[in-house]
Symmetry: C2
Subunit: 144 residues, 2 copies
DNA sequence: ATGCTCATGAGAACCATTCTCGCACAGCGT
DNA sequence: ACGCTGTGCGAGAATGGTTCTCATGAGCAT
């Protein structure tokens, strides 16, 4: 699910996860990148920079980080999952369709809108998923 | 991608598609159902009711209907795609996490919000994807 | 240092979706 | 009604992202 859970779990700060070379490398890599990257991409990048990590490990680590609220996930149209380091507070993303650059946006109005819409129809435990896509200024300029 | 494209293609009314038993059956089934159903589900339902249709055909037909704007697609968290008959105008969905029932919601404020957020950051061709999840009144009542 | 776990990794398994390719049939003109 | 033609169909294989298995290896508390 993407960065949008109004009712995210309490997010225990003590995660009980072990600090391994692989997870550190993955986290470091994610810190350097902006934009959503697929697990496969991240795996390839780690190998390139000489940090041999198993693909399964990448998936497991990413999953764990998502559970701990350290990452945001976004499913692309073709079903591939993209991961991105993000601030822990609730927010949404503005994603460039062309270069993948993302901007975090937090806007109370949408939050209120989602809650209201849910309430109006008798829905409880309302969460929402909001992503905005577009072509960023740089990519627009780059188009011949 | 789900029902949320501000800039959907012109949607040619003359689709040039042939009317076959399989496609009619699929469309009829979708008309009876509310809520998002996976291609696999739809395929199984068709077989159950005695309309033998190939799985590949279901996928092809669904894809075609989506291209023609007759269906909405929604990717669940586990990557499976859900399909649903929908009104042709732009709208979003309020989905029950428990029973899958959906309500279409159209609210101009969000549209404006998305456009504004994109513009503020210099993004062009702004589209957005918005889904609201919750537990509907019936399911809340059903919880022992 | 020791031991109890949890994490890792290679490969297989899984599963939704797409492709292949030969055959059937809808649509159209006559 | 008849035949042509290209689109749609279907079974199974292929694809590709993600998850599972299980034996080995490495944190971390004591």
């Amino acid at each position: 699910m993407s960065g949008a859970d109004t009712g995210r779990a309490p997010a225990p700060e003590v995660t009980g996860r072990r600090t391994t070379r692989q997870r550190s490398a993955l986290l470091a890599l994610l810190d350097e990148l902006d934009g959503f990257r697929s697990a496969q991409d991240l795996h390839a990048l780690l190998r390139e920079r000489g940090d041999p990590v198993g693909l399964a490990t990448v998936y497991r680590a990413l999953q764990a980080m998502v559970d701990d609220g350290q990452l945001d996930v976004l499913r692309s149209a073709d079903g591939e999952a993209g991961y991105r380091r993000c601030s822990p507070s609730h927010h949404h993303h503005l994603v460039c369709r062309s270069c993948g650059r993302t901007v975090e946006v937090a806007d109370p109005p949408v939050e209120r809108w989602a809650a209201r819409v849910g309430a109006e129809h008798g829905f409880a435990d309302v969460q929402h998923q909001v992503e905005v896509f577009g072509t960023c200024a740089a990519c627009v300029a780059a188009r011949s």
